[in-house]
């Protein structure tokens, strides 16, 4: 393949985002352009797969292959893409509703398979696309259209989930900090196996513009004391109250699905040669 020199704007598609002015997702999009350019990934070898939601509109704005699928199914669709064409860099994108509510059942199975793809969750703690209902990460203080008298359940903690599921890479970033987001996207893509990036990306319309300041004020970088190979450290980060740690929370070296499947294939080849006629013989009786 000829050498190409991609700049971030080469990844811009010609579709204008429908996002509200000031939406956090613009930051994610810009960070993604930069990350893809830094990695010099050819357009045709990247596939961005999403569900449905404001955040899930993202694939259409990137000049790569994209799949804006159905609500909650970013992960299974992304896995299908990756397994069918392993050369592809696959990035799954979901909102907090998409990924933790309707799509919640796919997350543990994605993690246990440890397929080599990157999952970016654009968490705005609200259902943006449907105009402001409670999401799984909505906090008690946040008014929403479906909690007129306050919330009657606790929010879900996506990092804890990823840890319990055995995800082999877990990081957190903030779309208000594009530089950091670029860095995290790159590391997530480079991680061999499943990588989960919890990306705080404010909804200015249904949660509010103050989210940017709030998150910025609570953000701290994971320092050197943090050991990303330790589940205990990672859990502690997940439990933090009053501050939000940014960076790589957890990282582990685990065999990928692809590697294990390769091994299974070898065993299979020992059991049979992949010749259709030979297979047919098992069913054939030539009296």
């Amino acid at each position: 393949m000829e050498a190409r020199n991609y700049s971030p704007k080469d990844f811009r598609s010609d579709i204008k985002p429908v996002w509200c002015p000031g939406c956090g997702d613009f930051g994610v999009l810009n960070a993604l352009y930069q990350a893809l350019a830094k990695l010099q990934l050819p357009h045709e070898d990247v596939a961005i797969v999403s569900g449905i939601g404001c955040s899930s509109r993202l694939p259409g704005y990137v000049k790569t292959y994209g799949f804006n699928s159905i609500h909650g199914r970013a992960l299974p669709v992304a896995q299908g893409v990756k397994l069918a064409r392993p050369e592809t860099t696959v990035i799954a994108v979901a909102g907090d509703g998409d990924g933790l509510s309707i799509g919640a059942g796919h997350f543990p199975h994605m993690a246990r398979r440890n397929i080599d793809l990157t999952y970016i969750m654009l968490d705005n703690s609200i259902y943006g696309m449907t105009k402001g209902q409670m999401s799984p990460t909505t906090v008690e203080e946040q008014p929403t259209k479906t909690t007129p008298y306050g919330m009657v359940e606790d929010p879900i903690n996506p990092v804890k989930l990823a840890l319990a599921y055995g995800a082999s890479f877990i990081a957190r970033s903030f779309s208000g900090n594009i530089k950091h987001t670029v860095q995290m996207i790159i590391q997530a893509i480079q991680h061999p196996g499943f990588s989960f990036l919890h990306l705080l990306s404010p909804c200015v319309t249904f949660v509010g513009r103050d989210q940017f300041d709030l998150i910025r004020s609570l953000s701290v970088d994971l320092g050197n004391e943090h050991d990303p190979t330790s589940v205990e450290h990672a859990w502690r980060v997940a439990e933090e109250v009053g501050r939000i740690s940014m960076g790589v929370i957890f990282e582990a070296d685990k065999p990928t699905f692809e590697q294990r499947y390769e091994h299974a294939k070898q065993l299979a080849h020992q059991a049979g040669d992949g010749d259709f006629r030979n297979l047919l013989k098992k069913y054939r009786v030539a009296a």
Binding site: S13, I15, V18, P42, H43, E44, D45, V46, A47, V49, I52, R57, P59, G60, K63, T64, Y65, G66, F67, N68, S69, I70, R73, L75, P76, V77, A78, Q79, G80, V81, K82, L83, A84, R85, E87, T88, G105, H106, P108, H109, R113, Y261, A264, K265, L267, A268, H269, A271, G272, D273, G274, F276, L279, L280, Y283, R284, V285, A286, A287
Partner: protein
């Protein structure tokens, strides 16, 4: 009793090897060029419950399970009674039971039935020290009783038990021989002639095997699925075989993941499929629409079982028809195919991939528990005849990739499809309505055009492709039977039987249900005087036909909710009632003459 058509059944508990005896019998017969069909039934207990193996043997290809038993072999009466209402011994038939299990006093199985004790268990124990080979001893008894050639059995027993060590093999051989000897000693023993003129190669397979083989030949490279009775065997088959053929197999967390993962794989360029049964198909409904909207090839095999809801997982039905053709929100063009038997299932599976790839649509293959799980012996299939159907996806040409329009509005509705890896073919697939380039839109006019484009592909298909329809019988028939799917076998036998009686009758079954080849069907129903629609559902096929063609006013329907497949008698009776053209007594209780 005519030698070429023998129906027998073995009934016992799960542990007694009833099913496996049935399988060995089919294999043994096939070794001698004898056709057969084996239907295995189980009670509700997960394991160790009652088991029934019903086998029909014939020198001609067997098309249905057989209505009445010529002979029944009861290993235990308690288990037999669990199947009451499901199996019937022919008047004058024979019942052999294990002498250790005395039949109940008030036993009444029918007219003139001989009920004969046989020491199956005792003889086995005497011979081998335990009763493990009792099933094979019974098989030996059966072979002797009906004079079935023993060479085939020797081979079949060796194939089955050879790998389990010399000891096991030996005791089974001994048991078989002992059973055969015992049979030769009973007066019921018959000198039937099983000699086949010309032994032609055959395949022994279930409908689930057939669909799997066809799919593999068609080039499936990705299977994602979730277990469900009675479709799990397809999944297990793929788990075993796909890795050998460098395909990918994934057991997913549910059916929604299964179908969406397959859609993802299809987007990436692979021929992808999943297999399920009713509840799973219902769960896949939303995603089928995604396949339609994103115009991504997809093959879904649905092995029907009793419904609605969990229904009767282990029994057959044709009640997913309306869902397959009309289910799903929105205007949702899709293709639905339905094979008639295992042989046909191979071809239909291949065609499913052909149509999915060519027209970029979801294709649902509807089979059922009866077809999917019965063991059938069919003439060998020459797979190379299907090579023209094994196509590659039509990747975009260079010209297409200048300002590439994934969803170009073409005359035939088909647009050049790209996939990751193709430079300048980038686009975003979406379940959202979109313009030619894939950009989301909510414009009414564009929606109109795109809806029409997607619909148009089915019209193109209907006019360009083979007419997938089965027609059988008298070209100038006065009586017509319209049916679909696995009913075709029994209907064919009815037609054969009546034609020998000079009844002018013909049958038709569309193998492509959506888009339906309406012209051919309309011509057929217009041609006949009397039309009987036969289906294993609550008038779903009738309803569907009504919505697609003009049915004659006097159309009659033979329908049942399902659970058991139709018998020849049921259909003959239905015809008789409607016609009065032949009398009840012309219907023999058993053994049909077949062309």
């Amino acid at each position: 009793m005519k030698p070429q058509d023998l129906v027998l059944a073995i009934v016992g508990s799960g542990g007694e090897g009833v099913a496996s005896a049935g399988e060995v019998l089919v294999q043994a017969a096939a070794n001698e060029g004898i056709y057969s069909m084996l239907v295995r039934s189980y009670g509700p207990q997960i394991r160790g419950g009652e088991t029934l193996a019903q086998i029909r043997l014939s020198k001609k290809q067997v098309r249905s399970q057989g209505d009445y038993l010529d002979a029944l072999f009861v290993l235990s009466w308690a288990n037999f009674f669990r199947f009451s209402g499901e199996i019937f011994v022919k008047d004058g038939g024979m019942v052999f039971y294990d002498e250790e299990d005395t039949p109940p006093e008030n036993l009444n199985l029918g007219k003139d039935i001989q009920i004969i004790p046989v020491p199956f268990a005792r003889a086995t124990k005497e011979l081998t020290g335990d009763t493990r080979s009792k099933n094979i001893l019974a098989l030996g008894f059966i072979s002797g009783l009906f004079n079935l050639p023993d060479g085939g059995f020797n081979q079949a027993i060796r194939d089955r038990f050879g790998k389990k060590g010399e000891d096991v093999l030996e005791s089974n051989f001994n048991a078989f021989r002992r059973g055969r000897e015992m049979a030769l000693a009973v007066p019921q023993h018959m000198e039937l002639d099983w000699q086949v003129d010309e032994k032609k190669p055959v395949l022994i397979l279930t409908g689930n095997d057939a669909v799997s083989l066809g799919s593999l030949y068609a080039g499936v490279k990705f299977f994602s699925g979730y277990p469900i009775t009675p479709a799990s065997e397809i999944m297990e088959w793929m788990a075993r075989e796909l890795p050998k053929f460098d395909g990918v197999f994934v057991q997913t967390e549910d059916e929604i993941a299964a179908v969406t993962m397959a859609i993802g794989a299809s987007f990436a360029g692979a021929k992808a499929m999943t297999a399920t049964s009713g509840p799973g198909l219902s769960l896949m409904t939303e995603a089928i629409g995604l396949s339609t909207m994103a115009e991504l090839p997809l093959v879904i095999v649905n092995v029907q079982r009793g419904g609605p809801s969990t229904g009767i997982p282990t029994k057959t039905s044709q009640s997913d028809l309306l869902h397959a053709v009309y289910g799903g929100h929105g205007n949702l063009p899709r293709v639905v195919l339905a094979p008639l038997d295992s042989q046909d299932a191979i071809e239909i599976a291949i065609r499913a991939f052909y149509l999915a790839e060519k027209y970029q649509v979801p294709v649902i293959v509807l089979t059922d528990q009866f077809l999917g799980q019965r063991v059938e012996v069919v003439p060998e299939v020459d797979f190379s005849q299907f090579d023209p159907l094994v196509i590659q996806r039509q990747w975009p040409a260079e010209a297409d990739l200048q300002d590439y329009k994934r969803f170009r509005l073409t005359e035939d509705g088909i647009s050049p499809i790209s996939a990751p890896g193709i430079a300048n073919g980038m686009y975003t697939a979406a379940g959202i309505e979109h313009d030619e380039k894939g950009k989301p839109t909510s414009n009414a006019e564009l929606h109109e055009k795109m809806t029409a484009k997607r619909q148009r592909k089915l019209d193109t298909l209907l006019s360009n492709e083979d007419n997938l329809i089965w027609e059988y019988g008298d070209r100038h028939a006065k009586i017509g039977i319209l049916t679909w799917g696995s009913n075709a076998g029994v209907v064919r036998e009815v037609v054969d039987h009546l034609r020998l009686k000079e009844v002018r009758i013909a049958a038709m079954a569309p193998r492509q249900l959506m888009p339906l080849p309406t012209e051919t069907i309309q011509a057929f129903v217009d041609r006949v005087d009397t039309l009987l629609v036969v289906e294993l559902a609550e008038e779903q096929f009738l309803t569907y036909l009504r919505s697609q063609i003009q049915l004659p006013e006097n159309t009659r329907v033979l329908k049942r909710a399902g659970a058991a497949p139709f018998t020849i008698h049921e259909i003959l009776h239905a015809l008789e009632e409607e016609n009065g053209k032949w009398k009840q007594e012309t219907i023999p209780q058993k053994t049909f003459e077949v062309i």
